[in-house]
Amino acid sequence: MSRLAVPKTYKLYIGGAFPRSESGRTYEVLSADGAFLANAAKASRKDARDAVVAARAAVGGWAGATAYNRGQVLYRIAELLEGRRAQFVAEIEEAEGATRAAASAQVDEAIDRWVWYAGWADKFAQVAGNANPVAGPYFNISVPEPTGVVAIVAPQQSSLLGFVSVVAPALVAGNAVVVVASERFPLSAISLSEVLATSDVPKGVVNVLTGSPAEIAPWLASHADVNALDLVGAGDLDWIDLEIAAADTLKRVLRPEQGPDAAAPALGRISAFTETKTVWHTKSMK
């Protein structure tokens, strides 16, 4: 006799906790062949604001951690993902209708990409920063620092890899993120949140919203406590309006990318959400 499965309730991930949407709303997530998979939380404007508050509270600690520490914490996520590999493969097969091989390849690449980005944590400042030979008695040095709170519309056509490809690089430099997951494939993002919750990533550093990007993104784009906006997965939204809204507080904006190379791993994805700080130190024998 077959055993009756215990299905999971998929919720939001805000400030290290897994709340339902304060709005009480959910939406049906269907498999590739139209079968019911889950009721995902449909995040509201208030959920988005709560997520920004949580991210703002977390950014100081995360940005203040040593680069070596951030690198280890990020690497730890890859370790945990590896342990849950089978779960993610099954989830992607079901949600995307992908073959076992394709789903496995996506999970493998997601894990390897985490590892790649984790390794950058204590190196990118050496590559992106430098000492400057100014004409005077000064030690002058430029270093990249995290921009702050980054709101991200994750790639919409991918369950796990797209999400990882945009979240990992933003975390490397020490930003805290609020991510709107793929509307159609949100479940892997929430499962990944469970990985994050049991890893060493401080609460609030990553906040995950599921629901309608078209509904949530405008609130994030106009939120004055968001410093940057990654519209990589917003190509099907009115993203120009989002960019215009972001200009009110001069947020840094990455425009949408589409196609197989969207959000390809690049140092540029790390540096896009950093600020160059240049400090002049006076030299004197006195």
């Binding site: 790649w116 590559v127 992106a128 430098n130 400057n132 030979p133 100014v134 004409a135 005077g136 000064y138 002058n140 430029s142 921009t147 410093n227 993203w239 120009i240 960019e243 215009i244 972001a246 200009a247 009110d248 507080t249 001069l250 840094r252 904006v253 990455l254 425009r255 990318e257 190379d261 390809a264 791993p265 690049a266 140092l267 540029g268 994805r269 896009a272 600020e275 160059t276 700080k277 240049t278 400090v279 002049w280 130190h281 006076t282 004197s284």
Partner: protein
Amino acid sequence: MNFLEYAPAPESTAILNLREQYGLFIDGEFVDGRGEPFQTISPATEARIASISNANGADVSDAVAAARRAYDRTWSRMSGRDRGKYLFRIARLVQERARELAVAESLDNGKPIKESRDVDVPLVAAWFFYYAGWADKLDHAGLGANPRALGVAAQVIPWNFPLLMLAWKIAPALAAGNTVVLKPAETTPLTALIFADILQQADLPPGVVNIVTGAGDTGAALVAHEGVDKVAFTGSTAVGRAIAKQIAGTEKKVTLELGGKAANIVFDDAPIDQAIEGIVNGIFFNQGHVCCAGSRLLVQESIHDEVVDRLKARLSTLRLGDPLDKNTDIGAINSREQLDRIRELSDIGVAEGAERWSAPCEIPENGFWYAPTIFTGVQTSSRIARDEIFGPVLSVLTFRTPAEAVAKANNTPYGLSAGIWTDKGSRILAVADQLRAGVIWANTFNRFDPASPFGGYKESGYGREGGRHGLAAYLAPATGVDRAAAAAPKAKSATKGSKR
């Protein structure tokens, strides 16, 4: 005559060879603009200097078309080595004509000749010299091998450092292989037009640099022009915001260098004599018309009275007057409009309860002037502690602990610059780490260098000017795809592109 009085020592204007009227500089030639010409005046005397062409939309289109032709036919095909040699030529010509440029700048802008002569113009030459050497070394700019230029750059610059801002914009753009259409500020077009003459002497190919004069609508037409690939703007946050909205949804890249409200933090162990000079330089340099000016003095409570007393004594020795006089410390406010704004915000400061003190100087009859002014008893919520005044007005606030100093310094939507004064090295490093600002000066202030990146956090804008970072703002990776760095693994298009 006491020891503070000096006989007048005005720099001669005989070195100038000004024209009665100036056209637009398009495709290597001076041409008349189709808008209504305007006059540029000396803010120190309100006397007319010259008549300046006004570029309308059609003129802007001509300039962009000239820049595009020069990009396609000449500049993008030229070797980096030769581009660099043109920039070296320009640097040398600026040095050769340094005195003339300094006099013209002080005449048109109102800044003291000692600043235009010793700061602005030498830095202009340095900027071209620095970026000249980059032109054939772009592989090392940090974007992987064979980075490409962006195309035509639209550059709109402010009136506070007219020629220096021109150099900050044009030098990296040309080194990276872009061509340029530049719009100087309406009140300070003169040195840009003399610079056009320098470009002719350098035999720079026509169209590589085009200069269109006019007011805000000329700049707006330039930024909005569909033939433009890159926008670089220095000016107010309000205009920067409008530009960011205007270019939304386009392929244009943008660099914005906007306003600031910098904290200058003085700890009780600071070297006090240097700190006083640094505070004065921080806010009264260039009449406070400096986006990175140290306009909020955060002084540790225990030394507040001493610092304020010494500041007042020092300010009482500053000489305000003729910008062309070599003894002048404080020149003219650049325009009546700006003077009105400074007066309005100062009056608001008084109305909000702060105490105003102005240095006792004789104000000349004609022209636009504002005496160096200090506000004490300023609340963090007061507008003179929050709004950029862009004038010789210092707001003094206090703090007790380093943590409080950092919190107050960061309590602003701006994030351009900051200063730290203390004898304790470890504290400098820790405080500098925590300040959310793009440029931080420790035991100095308002230092600039072409090798040193400059630019803001938060609403002070984005992108950097100066250094390797400033060069990268005019380049894209070889792929042609935004941001896909050549260093990326498995990014197939990246490897393909780098082989071109």
